[in-house]
């Protein structure tokens, strides 16, 4: 049932038109290197298999009468078909390997392949999490070493490694805060979150049973200290702050904010999503932070993989260290040991966040990256990331309207005033950038400015790349001013698909493939 390359046939007049049209359709849909690819389910045959497995030996059946009898519906493809299928799919993606990916707040930096090789060493990759500790001393040493690097870079005395992603780390940090407050008999109910926060912050606070209140920003895009001082009270459990914040600005009053918070009995959660801007130059401990997650997939370059997996270790202050969740690694004369149960813990862990010990594969990659850079290289990372962002800000400011005056940290924020009256939206502008060969910046976030365009170049981009990007943005801004609205609304044109109908997708969700009822009905 190969239905992979079906396409309706054309009349001769249509074909004539095709011959003279540059955007002509080809016979079966492929266009040079852009290869169409149907779903695997539409290519398979039950007679094929891409893995050679031996015949199962004859044994008794112990399935308790529950043997699966019905067909599952999986496709059947040979190995070369599978390789081609997924290779073609990959070619429809843009990656950091392909080009500039200035997604603000996402830190899309180079992903070194050394890290991949290290994570695949059989001594790490082929290791069961519940093997006897005597057989996994090297793995525990790696976890302990990573913890040491993270503690040194943050200046904080404890670290929880098990959170599986940044949002999971936030949950871990906020749970430790709540556990610590409850341990001192304190039932505060409110968590303060700035308007510019990532959506995960309020979602996490709500999962911990807190009521979320927004605190205002001042005209400069930073927390309004006076408003915060005014609001701080005995009902405030914690402040969740991203620093540098999502406008790409360092919260210059952060030490004062921490003092007000602590004096009022609250605890300080820092969203460490933007740690890349300060790594090696500023230690969060010196800012008065009690808990901060670190997205290993951002600052420490573990690959984003099309949306995960990530890893979100959390560093803790002295006040929160006793509440660090299970499990964790300790080191004594006999070697490394995992503390997996509350009864064996020295403090009062708030619980276990997930099965096993954390995202080991990400730990290996992150440590490989950290060791490659070292103390000197990591400081250079922060400096080059900030330099690149400020260079973009300076070069683009005459063309694109910056949201705030002054310099920025690792990312620069613009608003859509430069598009005012052109009929072109931030979205249209971003889609046109795709045709210029760039991945768009983050759009419409943070919510504090209208039509936000947030650009984070990272330290692994060359000046030449930034210059080309500036040239493309300038040229597009010129076209917008010239009133070429249709050009923007038709973009992107050179991608495997044009703009997709998201409204239709949401109104009548089709979330899986289904076998057509029968050949006749399908036709």
């Amino acid at each position: 049932m190969d239905r992979s390359q079906g396409r309706k046939s054309r009349t001769e007049t249509e074909l004539d038109a095709v011959m003279t049209d540059d955007s002509a359709e080809t016979a079966i849909g492929h266009r040079g290197l852009q290869l169409e690819e149907t779903l695997s389910f539409e290519q398979g045959s039950p007679d094929r298999c891409g893995v050679d497995l031996p015949d199962p030996p004859k044994t008794g059946n112990r399935l308790g009468g529950l043997a699966r009898k019905e067909a599952i519906g999986l496709p059947g493809l040979s190995e070369p078909q599978v390789v081609r299928h997924f290779t073609r799919l990959s070619q429809k993606n843009y990656g950091i390997d392909s080009g500039f990916y200035p997604l603000g707040s996402c830190t899309m930096k180079h992903n070194p392949r050394l890290n991949e090789r290290m994570a695949r060493l059989p001594g790490f990759a082929d290791l069961h999490p519940l093997q006897p500790e005597s057989t996994v001393q090297g793995a525990l040493e790696l976890i302990d070493t990573l913890a040491h690097w993270l503690k040194t870079l943050t200046g904080l005395p404890a670290v929880a490694l098990s959170p599986a992603a940044g949002a999971h780390g936030e949950l871990c940090g906020m749970m430790a805060i709540r556990a610590a407050l409850e341990a001192r008999g304190d039932s505060r109910e409110v968590v303060l979150v700035p308007e510019s926060a990532h959506g995960t912050n309020p979602a996490t606070a709500a999962m911990c049973g807190y009521r979320v209140e927004t605190i205002a920003a001042d005209d400069g895009g930073r927390v309004d200290v006076a408003a915060f001082r005014e609001r701080m009270g005995p009902d405030v459990a914690a402040l969740m702050l991203t620093n540098p914040n999502t406008c790409g600005l360092f919260e210059r009053d952060i030490i004062e904010i921490a003092e007000i918070l602590h004096a009022g009995g609250g605890l300080f959660y820092c969203d460490g999503a933007n740690f890349n801007a300060i790594v090696g130059r500023v230690r969060p401990a010196d800012l008065g932070i009690d808990a901060m997650h670190i997205n290993l997939h951002k600052t420490f370059s573990t690959p984003h993989g099309g949306g995960g997996p990530g890893a979100g270790p959390v560093a803790f202050s002295e006040a929160l260290a006793p509440f660090v969740p299970l499990p964790y690694v300790v080191h004594d004369r006999d070697g490394y040991r995992l503390v997996e149960h509350a009864d064996d813990a020295s403090g009062t862990p708030f619980g276990r966040l997930k099965a096993f010990h954390g995202q080991m594969g990400m730990f290996t990659r992150a440590l490989s990256y950290m060791m490659s850079h070292g103390a000197d290289g990591l400081r250079q990372v922060a400096e080059d990331a900030v330099l690149n962002a400020n260079y973009l800000l300076a070069r683009l400011s005459p063309t694109v309207t910056p949201a705030f005056p002054g310099t920025c940290m690792h990312e620069c924020l613009f608003d859509d005033r430069f598009l005012k009256g052109t009929g072109v939206s931030t979205l249209d502008f971003a889609k046109a950038l795709i045709d210029e060969g760039f991945h768009p910046m983050t759009m419409y976030f943070p919510l504090v400015v209208h039509g936000a365009l947030l650009m984070e170049p990272t330290e692994t981009e060359s000046k030449a790349t930034l210059d080309l990007f500036v040239e493309a943005v300038e040229s597009l801004a010129e076209r917008a001013r010239a009133g070429e609205v249709a050009y923007f609304q038709g973009a992107p044109r050179f991608t495997p698909r044009g703009r997709l109908d998201e409204t239709a997708a949401a109104r009548r969700p089709v979330l899986r493939w289904k076998e057509p009822e029968s050949a006749e009905e399908a036709a």
Partner: protein, 125 residues
């Protein structure tokens, strides 16, 4: 006697006897863009004025619809499940959300009539 009243959050309520039909204004649907889903309450649920009565979703946003007055949900517009687009095409008619049994008709006086709402919209522009 039937009367049409509006809230500052752009809900409307059309009163017929002790029942009020609730929906969102044309201005609101335009601001929200293409509606893809409307989450309606259970019939029989009692709502205080200002309570979340329904949630209306576009592709990139979700907005709460608040009860304009105290009352109990008497009926919901099942047709929106299949055709949420009715909220866009006919917000004041077929795109209604729910009917509620009004607890205290006097509360309606606190809402805007059509002329006052138009003036309110003008002030937003």
């Amino acid at each position: 006697m039937s009367a049409l009243r509006f809230t500052k959050d752009h809900e409307w309520i059309r009163v017929d006897g002790d029942t009020g039909t609730v929906g969102i204004s044309d201005y609101a649907q335009e601001q929200l863009g293409d509606i893809v889903f409307v989450d309606l309450p259970d019939v029989g649920k009692s709502l205080a004025k200002g309570d979340e009565a329904a949630v209306v979703e576009s592709v990139k946003a979700a907005s709460e619809i608040y009860a304009p007055v105290n009352g109990e949900v008497a009926e919901v517009n099942q047709a929106l499940a299949d055709e949420p687009a009715k909220v866009n095409t006919d917000p004041m008619g077929e795109g209604w959300f729910l009917k509620m049994k009004i607890a205290d008709a006097a509360e309606l006086d606190e809402l805007m009539d059509e002329a006052a709402y138009d003036a309110y919209l003008e002030s937003l522009r």
